[in-house]
Symmetry: C2
Subunit: 167 residues, 2 copies
């Protein structure tokens, strides 16, 4: 059957499969988007991170920024690390806390977080919820550095940070 003008119009108006439009799904195992690869949890032997997944929402050769989505299950945490490149973060779901240098910020949905260059940071879903956040970075960026034992000692000399890291 040849579609009528009206049905062509309806198709245009309701089509969700356009390559430039990726639809969101709130699933029992977390936020997902059509056409976006979900990189599931891979637990780390050294317990550097725990219960974190990553989805790259935008990464294109003709853009100099990238947008990723990280989701931390309740009780989980991201890697404690630092690097020269900046993280520009928006909390998309839930809440938690973040270590940013020598400060601990308590985060709610839609809050903004800036991780400046060479600043130790870690995100923790430690307030009962999952913590999902968008993270904008430069596509060209340095690799993260992990803390040495001396770095960890220096961080843990602040009792609030020691308690945060020990959760």
């Amino acid at each position: 059957m040849i579609p009528s003008r009206q049905s062509q119009y309806q198709q245009t108006m309701t089509d969700q499969s356009d390559q430039h439009h990726r639809t969101f799904k709130d699933t029992p195992t977390g936020y997902r988007w059509g056409g976006v690869e979900h990189k599931p949890y891979k637990e780390d032997d050294r317990a550097l991170f725990n219960a974190v997944s990553r989805q790259t929402l935008f990464s294109r050769p003709d853009m100099s920024g990238e947008l990723r989505y990280f989701e931390v299950d309740a009780g989980g945490h991201s890697t404690l690390e630092r690097h020269e490149h900046v993280h520009a973060v928006l909390i998309l779901r839930g809440g938690g806390q973040a270590l940013i240098g020598d400060r601990i910020a308590t985060l709610s949905t839609n809050d903004l977080v800036t991780i400046p260059p060479m600043t130790w940071h870690q995100f923790r879903a430690n307030t009962g919820d999952a913590l999902g956040f968008l993270c904008m970075v430069d596509a060209i960026r340095d690799k993260p550095q992990l803390p040495t034992p001396a770095d960890l000692d220096a961080l843990a000399s602040d009792p609030a940070i020691a308690k945060f890291l020990a959760q």
Copy 2:
């Protein structure tokens, strides 16, 4: 009074005023963030856009991307335009529709939209809700181009697009 170790700890754990943490507020006039300038509606004589506000969430000399937040009141719309730079969009609140080239996408919260180079586009809060969206762009980018009468005629030759633009 000299604060005790315990009260210092509590202060660190609950402090919301850190320059690297900007808190979100859902206000009667739209989404807002502490320390982020809200550029309110400026109506355009040529009706190029209507009831749109802009907030720049992240723009730093040491990042090559920028993240902005646009909010369109129910019934409003963004400028119909095209440019060489790409828009990487995430719908943060509400829903609506977007013209992307010759397609019309119906958008829900958290959906992703890519506006490729030199693609006519317009966002409309035409489904009863406000439409708020994040838009990642390169900090270095070209200026938007507006359609000529001939461009508008070409777009409007598709009845679905003509109806979309006439709302």
